[in-house]
Amino acid sequence: MTGLSLYALTGAGLTGLGLYGLIATRHLLRRVVAFNLLGSGVFLFLGAAAARGEGADPVPHALIITGIVVALSASALAVGLVVAQARLTGRATLPEEDTHGDDV
């Protein structure tokens, strides 16, 4: 059971790191990485949950694979947006909150 706890705790740690990174970092590419870290933490926890009862439960594995595909597509779109924005504005950060409202 200690191995399992290790998985679950690592998952929780990654989730915390990812969440912190998403909130605290400004560079958008770092945020995309943090999102992936957060996702990996959740998947790791889900993988540990597969060990319920005797033998491994295959359902969480299928869920994780699906989740990875979804996270990959989301990352691809996010990186695409970051690149497009960096090309247009020369910055890879979000403009300050007060800039909305003055674009026509």
């Binding site: 989730t15 999102f35 359902v59 947006l81 497009a84 674009d103």
Partner: protein, 492 residues
């Protein structure tokens, strides 16, 4: 092919066709998919209205391994509302999103993204599996982000990026809750979970899922991404983003709290959700009052309207009518908000901008569009005989019969604020266009150029929102099909 499958598959097939086919064939294929999906939605409603709840075990697998799709009354009503809105938006978009108007890139991207959005919405409405719902809202989020960024302007890209950060965090929080549920119960099917033996982690799981869904629905204090994202997109896209996308994550939250884990729903947690809803109503309305652009007024109005949907949560377990009321509010807001964005889009094309000053005199130049906006405003402010009135009436009755009259005051106050900020737009429409008489002519030309059909579109949607109130008995019968029995105190 049953209607339940058709409402999922037809938009998806249309999206693929719109990407794969050469330019000339792409748009007809997309429009055919829109027509087909609209027909499928009507067929689904016909089946459900007859009292049947179509169920499908995907691939023949039974839960807990397999995924169940079910079209209950709530799902059917939502599917119908979405079909009406997207069908009308597609009608407008034939000319509004033409390549010569918005550029080849936006014109190409609009149709696949719209159809993908439609398919994802329907998936969320009919899925009975928590993980399948995760995939659904993620798909929905990606399509919605694409629609926000479709014009490729720096402001729109920034809005899309901010939206994406919130959407991704929201869906991962939801997923973390789903993982906890699976770890505790070994099942993700809603009906199996409703009959589960409660576990200690249920409250944490429900909290994680709810917070994630709140971020995706843009409930206060997670609303900051919404106004720039919804106001930055082209009008047909804004209409779908504002009217439909928040409803999907809201519907999951509603199902979680009333169907899946009503036993875990503590009154304190429900009151907290209601309090956040109250803040959203007040803050969204106050922000709408000080905006100078019509699109931003309409977008901030969505922040306030989302607040209403959550204000009802504390009443759900104690008053039977509250559930009907919130469903009415969600449906009528969807129709009215889409009508408003389409109307603002038509004024923008005629006047060249959406500042309130640009809209002066529009009541004379474009009376049909202005009338539609007025009808939609009647619904949002909750005046009879609209669907918004029926919703608010049901909610307030529920609040008074259960002795929770504080929530009824919020609904009343919100109605007053709505009337105040929408009055600013309507006052501008009727104002004299003193110094800019020469622009009345182009306005008339633009109205003629876009064709009578497209000009009628906001009116059709606003009319549907009013009809919702007039035909409320039929709708109540529809949403009652397969509705979970009111929990806790089912006596009012």
């Amino acid at each position: 092919m049953s209607a339940l499958v058709a409402v999922l598959v037809l938009p998806l097939a249309g999206a693929l066709a719109a990407v794969a086919l050469p330019d000339r064939a792409a748009r007809p294929a997309a429009l055919m998919a829109v027509a087909g999906a609209l027909a499928a939605a009507l067929a689904l409603v016909a089946v459900v209205a007859a009292g049947d709840v179509p169920r499908l075990r995907v691939g023949g697998w039974t839960p807990p391994v397999g995924i169940v799709l079910a079209g209950d009354g709530l799902a059917a009503a939502m599917v119908l509302m979405v079909a009406l809105v997207i069908g009308t938006v597609a009608w407008v978009a034939r000319s509004a999103m033409a390549a010569e108007r918005v550029g080849a890139r936006a014109s190409f991207g609009f149709w696949p993204l719209t159809l993908l959005l439609w398919s994802a919405l329907n998936v969320v409405f009919v899925s009975r599996d928590l993980f399948n719902l995760y995939v659904g809202i993620e798909l929905l989020g990606l399509a919605a982000v694409g629609l926000v960024a479709i014009e490729g302007r720096p402001a729109a890209l920034a809005a899309a990026m901010r939206y994406m950060v919130f959407a991704l965090v929201g869906s991962l929080l939801y997923l973390a809750g789903v993982a906890l549920v699976y770890a505790a119960h070994g099942a993700l099917d809603m009906d199996l979970l409703a009959a589960r033996t409660p576990a200690g982690t249920d409250a944490l799981a429900l909290a994680l899922m709810t917070v994630g869904l709140m971020a995706k629905t843009a409930l206060f204090p997670f609303h900051v991404w919404l106004p720039p994202a919804h106001a930055g997109a082209p009008a047909p896209a804004s209409a779908m983003l504002s009217a439909l996308v928040p409803k999907a994550s809201f519907l999951i939250a509603l199902r979680l709290w009333t169907e899946v884990m009503p036993d875990t729903a503590s009154q304190a947690a429900l009151t907290l959700i209601g309090a956040l809803g109250t803040l959203a109503v007040v803050w969204g309305s106050l922000c709408a009052l000080v905006q100078t652009r019509a699109k931003l007024i309409v977008a901030y109005s969505t922040v306030a309207e989302i607040g209403y949907l959550f204000v009802v949560f504390p009443l759900l377990p104690i008053a039977a009518g509250a559930w009907n009321g919130v469903v009415f509010l969600a449906l009528s807001h969807g129709l009215a908000k889409a009508a408003m964005f389409l109307a603002v889009g038509q004024w923008m094309r005629a006047a060249g901008g959406d500042r309130l000053d640009d809209l002066r005199g529009m009541a004379r130049a474009m009376p049909m569009t202005s009338f539609a906006f007025g009808l939609a405003a009647v619904t949002l402010a909750g005046l009879p005989p609209s669907g918004g009135f029926t919703g608010k009436y049901l909610v307030m009755t529920a609040a008074f019969t259960s002795g929770q009259w504080g929530w009824a005051l919020v609904v009343l106050l919100g109605g007053l604020l709505t009337a105040a900020y929408l009055y600013r737009v309507i006052a501008a429409l009727f104002a004299e266009r003193a110094e800019r008489v020469e622009r009345a002519e182009p306005a008339g030309c633009a109205a003629a150029a876009q064709g009578r059909g497209a000009a009628l579109a906001p009116f059709v949607l606003a009319g549907c929102a009013i009809a919702l109130g007039l035909a409320s008995a039929g709708l109540l019968d529809l949403v009652a099909v397969g509705r979970p029995a009111p929990i806790a105190g089912d006596t009012p």
